[in-house]
């Protein structure tokens, strides 16, 4: 094969050399361009991910257990987004975030139910779903007693989230006794 000036071309014979010089440079050029673009894309993505967060606190000291009577206590809902539930033998904290889409449910003492205003999810005091679209049970927050001053400490960033199942009558159910484990339950 001869090139335009009539000389024998040193490459480009079909089947003889698989990659001609021109093909090689095209490949390197486009490859480099695409690699650079990919780098720009990755860099932009990484830029978009925040590295420093300024968010509200998640740990609260809520006073000694004797401050809380039997049943659901709503006084920390506005401040820390959790309810304190006291039973005969122990206490736990339910995170007041609906497991459906994150609204704040309201407590109805007469019905003994938490009901969500957004899409109508209904929970009982164990956090099990008694109605509406919620797919999982309410989170329980980490709870402990400060050994120094005897106050209860609730940390809402550590959450208990067991896999629910469906039983006759309750669509999303977790055995309450199984949830009474450290650090999500304190005996009083």
């Amino acid at each position: 094969m001869k090139d335009m000036r009539g000389f024998e071309a040193d490459s480009g014979k079909a089947g003889d050399e698989p990659v001609t010089r021109r093909d090689f440079f095209t490949l390197v050029g486009w490859g480099g361009f695409l690699a650079a673009m990919g780098g720009v894309g990755l860099g932009s993505f990484k830029f978009y991910v925040p590295t420093v967060l300024y968010e509200p606190p998640t740990t609260f000291k809520i006073g000694p257990p004797k401050d809380y009577g039997l049943g659901v206590d709503v006084r920390w809902k506005a401040i820390g987004q959790f309810w304190v539930v006291r039973e005969e033998k122990g206490m736990y904290a339910l995170v007041s975030i609906c497991r459906h889409l994150g609204c704040t449910p309201n407590w109805f003492p007469d019905q003994e139910r938490f009901r969500c205003p957004c899409h109508g999810s209904i929970y009982d005091t164990n956090g099990n779903v008694r109605g509406g679209p919620a797919p999982r049970t309410l989170w329980r927050a980490a709870i402990s007693i400060d050994p120094v001053d005897g106050q209860i400490v609730v940390n809402t960033s550590v959450r208990q989230d067991p896999d629910p199942k469906s039983i006759e009558g309750i669509a999303v159910y977790v055995e309450p006794e199984g949830r009474k484990v450290e650090p999500f339950y304190i005996s009083v």
């Binding site: 991910v49 925040p50 967060l53 300024y54 968010e55 509200p56 889409l101 994150g102 609204c103 957004c118």
Partner: protein, 253 residues
């Protein structure tokens, strides 16, 4: 006297450099104006008489575009008095409605024309479907239209957070919780946790720049609402209008 003055003005080099032809009251000038004006040349020079019937298009597409212009106009005014800061934003909105001259009107217009735009875009889509105007060779332009509709809804949604009132916070909380449930990319979605998604690295975290809807969410939505999405939708509209001319009109036009 006035005629002579007008003629003098029209003969100056300045006038002639701006207006390339006389007033469009004859066939020649009516054609020239459509060719020479960048905005008017979205239209053809002539259309069929039957296309003027209101019953055919009901002006829905044109009015959607007009709503976008009106929203840009009122939105720019609102931006002069609004700071995307969770401590100030709500007060800014109150100031705009009660203290700024015509501020309330600007906000009302922005709100209602946004809702009107959603409605008009939907009805435009409905009309285009019912008259079969999406068929070949206009398939691609229908696709662009669907994307424009989606962008319109995203603009409405991002704008919702800006007043920083209860409706804003909870509409966005719910909306971004849905993002959290995205399959594969969301922490709470199917196969999300299996792929290593956490509260602080999934798609919702990227969207609101944190784990709760707060300051960074407000700033991100502000930038999306005022800059990123308007630029995207403008590009889309340019292609949409261009394609109407290039693909040819369906039916009577």
């Amino acid at each position: 006297m006035i005629d002579r003055l007008a003629k003098f003005v029209r003969d100056t080099q300045i006038w002639q450099s701006v207006f390339r032809h006389g007033y469009p009251d004859n066939d020649r000038n009516q054609s020239l104006i459509m060719f020479s004006s960048v905005l008017l040349h979205l239209h053809p020079v002539k259309i069929r008489r039957s296309a003027l019937r209101f019953r055919y298009t009901m002006c829905l597409g044109g009015l959607s575009a007009f709503m976008f212009l009106l929203l840009t106009f009122t939105g720019i005014f609102l931006m002069f008095y609004y700071v995307p800061d969770t401590r100030q934003a709500f007060q800014n909105i109150k100031d705009i409605t009660s203290n700024v001259f015509m501020g309330g009107l600007m906000r009302d217009l922005h709100k209602w024309s946004a809702e009107a735009m959603v409605f008009l875009v939907w009805m435009h889509m409905f009309r285009v479907f019912m008259t079969g105007s999406y068929k070949a060779p206009r398939e691609f332009n229908w696709g662009i239209g669907v994307i424009l509709l989606t962008l319109t809804l995203l603009l409405s949604w991002t704008g919702y957070l800006l007043p920083w009132d209860q409706l804003a916070l909870w509409a966005i909380t719910v909306g971004t919780k849905m993002a959290e449930a995205t399959p594969f990319f969301g922490y709470a979605g199917p196969w999300g946790q299996q792929l290593g998604m956490r509260v602080d690295n999934d798609i919702r975290f990227l969207l609101i720049g944190g784990t709760v809807v707060g300051q960074s969410a407000l700033l991100r939505f502000y930038v999306l609402h005022c800059v990123a999405l308007p630029v995207l939708i403008t590009l889309g509209m340019v292609v949409h209008f261009w394609r109407i001319r290039k693909d040819g009109f369906s039916g009577p036009l």
